[in-house]
């Protein structure tokens, strides 16, 4: 894969942003993560249909309910989004998710309840949500598994850079269902073990979690700015990376050149799988040898398509507190020496490098600076 140039270097301001995870809002979530607490609990992988118990971060038990069991969580979270002419010209909404309301499609395939149908496609789900929040029809939908939120941020950046928007609302969410939990279980990476990101151990495992986040992006001044973004797709294999780590190296190279003298820490992807975890940790160590690496999917679970934005909001909260959580759920030995098992001070830094990965060897990086 060619190293290429950065795919977005226009600085955008994060004017407002919040998230909710199984541990609570961003403040409560960070409290828990700083104390090493995990919200993952063992639950049947197929919800009401049973199955093996696996580590899941559920805001409520998985059911076949209609309306969707997660809708009240999302509606309550939506109350925190600032008022605005969202979904009208120059104020677009960008929905990003991996799952949308796929729980409703699985339930519909089983019970054929027609009231589920309007939710059963990505655009149907987005329209239901937009109508419910009183937003207009000027919205985009991105779905690229676990880098979905990054793609939404990049498109928002392009719209602002081209003066096609005054502000952009990014709305990202993923809630678990037997569809996705059963899928990852069939791949054997969601199993009876708890996730221990970047820990060098015999068995890899992930945990999954419910989450949602929003961000309002614009050009005005803000203490938090995203100053560069980059993408890559190895296209080596559906579920594994090129074994020499070229995908990580090639995606990091232009970002490393762009970061110059910034002092930063890294929030990696770190799901708890072994091979991609080893490649990711070693690649960060090689490119940024004295830079702390942390990740929080051992505490909130892998929140799938929303993870890029959820974890960005948690990073902003960490910066404001001056303390970043360590790698929740993992302990030495790690795949690289820059892994941080404990919470660490971040006052001496002026940036955070955020990474997410997805099927197909997809890589997404963004760099956030703060005043």
């Amino acid at each position: 894969m060619s190293k290429g140039r950065l795919h977005a270097s226009f600085p955008v301001s994060i004017l407002d942003a919040k998230c909710v995870t199984v541990l609570g809002g961003q403040s409560r979530s960070l409290d828990c993560l700083l104390n090493g607490k995990s919200g993952l609990e063992y639950a049947p992988v197929l919800g009401p249909a049973g199955g093996d118990t696996v580590p899941l971060g559920l805001m409520s038990p998985m059911t076949n309910a209609f309306p969707p069991r997660w809708l009240p969580h999302l509606q309550a979270f939506g109350e925190s989004i600032p008022d605005g002419p969202w979904g009208t010209p120059r104020y677009p909404v960008i929905f990003t998710s991996s799952n949308f309301a796929i729980d409703q499609l699985l339930a519909f395939s089983l019970d054929k309840r027609e009231e589920r149908v309007p939710w059963c496609s990505p655009h149907g789900c987005a329209k239901q949500l937009a109508d419910g929040f009183g937003w207009g029809s000027n919205f985009h939908i991105y779905s690229h598994a676990c880098v979905s939120a990054h793609l939404g941020i990049m498109h928002a950046t392009k719209m602002l850079e081209s003066n096609l928007a005054d502000r952009v609302l990014l709305f990202s969410f993923d809630f678990l269902s037997p569809f996705v939990a059963g899928g990852f279980h069939s791949l054997k990476i969601l199993n009876s073990e708890r996730p221990a990101p970047w820990q060098n151990r015999p068995i890899g495992a992930i945990g999954l979690g419910d989450a949602a986040a929003f961000a309002v992006l614009g050009r005005e001044h803000s203490p938090f700015k995203i100053i560069c973004q980059h993408l890559g797709n190895e296209m080596y294999h559906f579920t594994s990376n090129e074994p020499q780590g070229s995908g990580f190296a090639n995606t990091l190279a232009p970002v490393r050149e762009a970061l110059g003298d910034y002092r930063f820490w890294i929030k990696g992807h770190g799901t708890g799988t072994l091979e991609s975890g080893r490649l990711e940790a070693q690649s960060f160590l090689l490119n940024f040898p004295h830079t702390p690496l942390t990740g929080w999917k051992g505490g909130i679970g892998h929140t799938l398509g929303s993870c890029g934005l959820v974890e960005l909001v948690l990073a902003m909260e960490a910066v404001q507190r001056g303390q970043a959580p360590g790698i929740v759920g993992a302990s030495p030995p790690f795949f690289s020496e820059n892994c941080q098992p404990k919470a660490f001070p971040v006052n001496a830094y002026n940036g955070v490098l955020m990474a997410s990965n997805a099927f197909g060897g997809a890589h997404a990086l963004l760099f956030m600076t703060h005043a």
Binding site: R90, C120, S121, S137, M235, H237
Partner: protein, 226 residues
């Protein structure tokens, strides 16, 4: 004004994809060793088979229902889910199948979905992307039962619109963003038919303005595999 030249345009509409004869010519566009490709993957392989890809290429992938046939089979496998069908039912499986089969890394992949404005969303993505070459690939698989509930397509179809660098000329037409708020919001199938007929069409942008597809030459640049 944002604009890009259109360098090539390929479209495809298939009859019943449950008939193996329909898919046989598409399979020939992938290496013989490649198996278990979805119908959408086969269509993408056929639509892109003659393209010369720049290292600086971006793919905008637009589909409302994605791998509907694979998705139906995955749903039907409940509660004994298939790992293969799980992977291939995930957006954007079709692009990944083809690019992995051809062993071609891809720096920029922008998979989108959408309803009324999915075409406008795809065109906006293409015009804002700073890659030298942009492929807008779209389409749907023929579902077997989802379309009966309007959550799948009754037809299999696809298109690939190849665009050149921003603000350059040449090619067989032009895609541009214009300020006047006008135009329609065609669904993907109708857009595919417009492309096949090389019709000048204004596409309404809900963000204001419209996207204009202008063809410099009327001759078709696509052909049917059947």
């Amino acid at each position: 004004m944002l604009s890009r030249p259109i360098h090539s345009c390929h479209t495809l509409e298939l009859p019943d994809t449950a008939d193996p004869q329909t898919l046989a010519p598409l399979r020939a566009t992938l290496p013989a060793t490649v198996r278990r490709v979805t119908i959408m993957g086969l269509m993408v392989a056929w639509l892109t088979r003659q393209l010369s890809l720049s290292p600086d290429v971006a793919v905008i992938y637009a589909t409302q229902y994605s791998e509907a046939h694979a998705l139906e089979r995955y749903l039907e496998s409940f509660p004994l889910f298939s790992p293969l069908l799980f992977q291939t039912s995930i957006h954007p499986g079709a692009i990944q199948q083809v690019w992995i089969a051809r062993k071609t890394p891809l720096q920029r992949l922008h998979p989108i979905s959408g309803g009324t404005h999915i075409v406008a969303s795809a065109l906006q993505n293409a015009l804002l992307c700073d890659a030298k070459q942009v492929l807008i690939i779209g389409g749907e698989e023929q579902s077997s039962w989802l379309h009966q509930h309007h959550i799948g397509s009754p037809n299999a179809f696809g298109f690939c619109l190849e665009l050149g660098p921003q603000h350059t000329t040449g090619g067989i037409g032009t895609l541009s963003l214009k300020e006047e708020s006008t135009g329609t919001s065609p669904p993907l199938l109708n857009f595919t038919k417009h492309l096949a007929a090389k019709e000048d069409i204004p596409i309404a942008d809900p963000n204001g303005g419209h996207y204009h597809l202008h063809w410099a030459t009327p001759q078709a640049n696509n052909s049917s595999p059947l």
